[in-house]
Symmetry: C2
C-alpha cells in the first residue's frame, strides 16, 4: 500500500509538472501578493468605511453589497448571493458598571455577551460570588448563589504557546456561565474576558441559555481583565460589596442575509469544487479587522492572485464569505445544506479565521494517508517560513461540509497577539500589518494551487486503491 501510494504520488508529480516549476509558481504568487496584493485595500474599506458587521446589522448588509461588487470586478466566472436567515441581536447603548465598596464607587469596563438579555432599565445590583469556573457552582449550591451576581474569574493559561488552546480552555465559561448560574438563582453573571492580556478592554462573544425558559434568563457580561483583578481583590476585603450593571441589549426576529460567493470555473473538472473562505460578519465593538475581515479579504485575494499569477485551475475554485459565524453559524450550515442538496462534489475547503498575522502554516482535517501526502509539499513553503503542517481542526464555517472525501484546512497565523484583540473594541484595522496579511493570502493561494494540481487526484486515486 505504502509503495503504491508513493509511486502514485511520484506519478502525479511527473504528470502534472509543466513548463514552470512549482517553486517558480509559488515565487510568483508570493511576489504578486506582496507587491500587488489587494487584500489590505479591501480590509481598509471593510474596517474603516463599513466597520463592525454583526449579523442582521446595516453594516453586515453593506459588507455583503461591497464584497459582491468587488468580486464582480475581478472577472470571475460567477458571483452570487446565497440567502440565509440570521439572528439579530443588538447591543443598544453602551453598557455601564461599577462596584461599590465601603462607600466608594469603582467604575469597571464591561460589555454584554452576544445573546444576553438586558438588565432591568435601572440596572441589576447585587452582592457578588466569585468562582474560578462554572463547575464550582454545584458545590456552592443555591444557598450561596441565590440573588447574587456570579463572577466567573477563570484565568488565561499563559503557559500555553498556542493561544487558541488557552481560549478553548475557558470559552465554555462565557458560553454556558449564565445558563448554569441561573439554575441556582443568580441574578446575573460577569465573566472575565477571554483575553491573553491584562488591559481595560472587555471582550464579547457568544453565549447561550440552552433550554432555559425565557423568564429565567439572566443578563451576562464580560469584564476586562484589569477590572476582573480589581474586583477579585476588592472581594477579598469586602465580600459584601455591591456590583451594579446596566445593559439594554435585545434579541430581535431573524432577518434575511446572505453568504457572498464567487467562482472561477474549473477547466477540466468544473463540477469538483475547492472552497476558500472566511466570515463576513464580526462582533460590533471593533471593526472586525482581524476577526474575520482578514480572512475575508485574503480569501477574495486567493482568486485574484490565481488569475494574476496566470494559473488556470482544473477544478472550480469558490470563494465563500460566510455570514453569521459569530453567533449562529447559519451561513456555514446553509452553504453545506445547499451543496448537499445540489450534490456538489467538494474536494477541498480552506478557511482563514485566526487573524491576519504572519502565517505559520495550516492544520488539516483529513486522514493520515492524505496528510502524509500534503506534508511532502513542506519544502516548497520553506522560503516563506511556512513550517506548521499539522493535523487538527480547520474552521467553523467549513466544518458542516465534513465528510469522508473532503480535505478541510485552516490557515494558522501566529497566534500570540490574536486574543489581545479578539471580540474587543481594539480589533481594528490599525492592528493588522499589511505584509503579514499579504503573506497569509499568498500562503492560502499556494496551497489551493497545489491542491488543485496534485491533491485531489491523489485523494481520488487513494480512494480507488482502497475500494
Amino acid at each position: 500500500m505504502k509503495t503504491r501510494f508513493i509511486t502514485l504520488v511520484l506519478l502525479c508529480f511527473v504528470t502534472y509538472n509543466n513548463a514552470q516549476s512549482d517553486e517558480d509558481i509559488l515565487k510568483t504568487i508570493y511576489k504578486t501578493s506582496l507587491t500587488n496584493g489587494h487584500s489590505y485595500q479591501w480590509l481598509d474599506y471593510l474596517s474603516n468605511t463599513i466597520g463592525g458587521r454583526l449579523s442582521g446589522s446595516t453594516n453586515a448588509a453593506l459588507a455583503v453589497q461591497y464584497t459582491k461588487s468587488e468580486l464582480e470586478k475581478l472577472g470571475l466566472d460567477k458571483v452570487w448571493l446565497q440567502p440565509v436567515m440570521v439572528p439579530k441581536w443588538v447591543r443598544g447603548q453602551q453598557e455601564m458598571a461599577y462596584f461599590q465598596s465601603s462607600g466608594t464607587i469603582h467604575k469597571v469596563n464591561i460589555c454584554a455577551l452576544g445573546g444576553s438579555v438586558a438588565t432591568p432599565e435601572k440596572g441589576t445590583k447585587a452582592k457578588v460570588i466569585e468562582v474560578a469556573t462554572y463547575k464550582d457552582l454545584e458545590a456552592l449550591g443555591e444557598e450561596n448563589i441565590k440573588g447574587k451576581i456570579v463572577f466567573i474569574n477563570r484565568s488565561w493559561e499563559q503557559e500555553l504557546v498556542n493561544t487558541f488552546q488557552a481560549y478553548g480552555g475557558c470559552s465554555v465559561e462565557r458560553y454556558r456561565g449564565a445558563a448554569e448560574a441561573a439554575q441556582y438563582g443568580a441574578v446575573g453573571t460577569i465573566v472575565r474576558s477571554l483575553s491573553s492580556r491584562q488591559d481595560d478592554y472587555p471582550h464579547t462573544g457568544s453565549m447561550s441559555y440552552g433550554d432555559l425558559p425565557v423568564v429565567q434568563r439572566i443578563p451576562s457580561a464580560a469584564i476586562s481583565t484589569n477590572d476582573a483583578v480589581k474586583l477579585s481583590e476588592a472581594l477579598k476585603n469586602d465580600k459584601d460589596l455591591l456590583f451594579h450593571f446596566e445593559m439594554s441589549c435585545k434579541q430581535f426576529e431573524d432577518v434575511q442575509s446572505y453568504n457572498v460567493i464567487g467562482e472561477l470555473t474549473g477547466s477540466e473538472f468544473p463540477n469538483e469544487y475547492m472552497l476558500v473562505g472566511g466570515h463576513l460578519d464580526s462582533w460590533d465593538l471593533g471593526d472586525g479587522a482581524h476577526d474575520d475581515g482578514a480572512g475575508v479579504v485574503q480569501s477574495m485575494d486567493v482568486l485574484r492572485l490565481l488569475k494574476k499569477s496566470g494559473i488556470k485551475p482544473k477544478r472550480s475554485i469558490r470563494v465563500v464569505l460566510f455570514m453569521n459565524e459569530e453567533n449562529g453559524l447559519r451561513g456555514g450550515r446553509k452553504y453545506a445544506e445547499v451543496a448537499k442538496a445540489k450534490n456538489e462534489k467538494h474536494v477541498f475547503a480552506l478557511e482563514s479565521d485566526a487573524g491576519g498575522f504572519t502565517p505559520r502554516g495550516f492544520s488539516f482535517d483529513c486522514s493520515d494517508l492524505i496528510f502524509s501526502k500534503i506534508e511532502d509539499w513542506k519544502p516548497l513553503f520553506k522560503p516563506y517560513l511556512i513550517h506548521y503542517f499539522e493535523q487538527g481542526r480547520s474552521g467553523a464555517d467549513i466544518g458542516p461540509l465534513k465528510n469522508d472525501a473532503i480535505v478541510l484546512a485552516g490557515l494558522r497565523p501566529d497566534s500570540q497577539r490574536y486574543f489581545d484583540h479578539h471580540h474587543a473594541a481594539n480589533d481594528t484595522f490599525i492592528h493588522v500589518n499589511k505584509r503579514e496579511l499579504e503573506l497569509g493570502a499568498a500562503t492560502m493561494t499556494a496551497l489551493v494551487y497545489l491542491m488543485d494540481k496534485y491533491g485531489t487526484e491523489t485523494i481520488t486515486n487513494i480512494k480507488e486503491i482502497k475500494d
Copy 2:
C-alpha cells in the same frame, strides 16, 4: 568521521542526561518566562521611564545605572561596568523641511541621519536631483549635481520575505549617500527612509562621511516613505522645485560610557564563557523598545530564568548589555578587546537584536559540522513553534568575538513588522507584545541551557578529533 561524530554526540547526550529530561527543562523554562518573566516589566521602565538612549546621552547613562542595579538584584555572582569611550552626537531641535512648487509649500517629515552635520542656521534650500541609488551619481556627474540636493529614492524590495534582506539591500544608500553626493558638489542629501511601510515616520540611522574633509561635509536627512513618494511625484511635474531643510545636529567629543555585565559563574568550567546580550543604546526618536530594549531585557531574563528554573550552568554565563551599537560599535569592540587581553575563553555568544517579536529560531555562525549537531536539537523546540535553524549572521555586538572556536548565534524573531518601527519615533513600548517578548527570552534561555549542557563538549571534542 561522521560515525565518530555521531557516536560522540550520542555519548554526550547519555553522559549529561540527568533526572529531568531536556523536554521537561525546556517546558519549565518556557512556563516560567510566560507566567513569571520579568522582561516586560524591565522593558516598560527602560522605554517609558528612561526612553531613547543614544550613546553619550543622559538617558544612556540612566540605562546603565538602572540595568546594573536590576542585575544586582538577581543574585548573580558578579555584576560590573566595563568602561568604553563613545561618540556623542546630538540631534538638537526637531528638524523641519518643505518643498516649494508653483508657489505652494508642501511640508514633509524628515530627520537628520546620525552623524550628519547641521544645515546652516537658516537652512539649506536648493533644487533637487532624484536618483534611485548613489551609484547613479557618477553617470550624472558634477554638471547635474553641483549646488543641488541629492534625493536618493531607493524603494524597499517588498517581495523579500525576510525584511532584513531588504534592509541590507538599501542601507548602503543611507550610510554612504552623503559622502558620495558631496564629491559631486551636492549641498545636501535626502534619503528615502529604510522602512517596509508607507507612512509619515522618517527613520534615522547611522551614516558616514568616510574620509571626506570636514569642510566638504553636507547635511543628510531621511524622509518618510509617504513624503518620498510625494516629492518624487512633484519632481515629475516640476524638476525645478526647491527643497528646504533645517537641522541643528552636532557631533561632540567622545564621552565615557559603559557596557553592563553580569555573570553566573560556572560550576565546572568557570573559565569558559557563554555570552548572551543585546545593546543598551538606541536611537533617540522613539524609546528604543524593539531596537534593542527587547534584546537587553531578554538577555537579562536569560540569567534570571536559568536560576528560576533551577539550572546550574557548568560554564560561566555572562549577560552583556553593549553600549553604542547604533553609531560606533564601541561597546562590542571593547568587550572583545578586553576578553582577548585577559585570554578569556569564549565558547558561545548569542545576541538578540532583531526586535521583540515572536521568535522563529536562530541563525548560527559556525562550521557545518557544529551546525549539524545543533540541528539535532530542533525537535526539542517544536512545541514552541521554533523552527528556524539556519547558518548565517549572528549580531553586530558579538561579531568582534569571532574566531575558530566560538559559536556565534542571533535570535531570529518574526521580521515582518520590525522595519515599520526601526529607528523611528514609533519604536515604542506599546508595539511590543508581552508574550512575544517572553517567548524570545525563553527561547534564548533554552539554547543557552542546551549549549552549556552539550554543545561545547561536542565542539571541544570535534576539535580534538580534527587535531
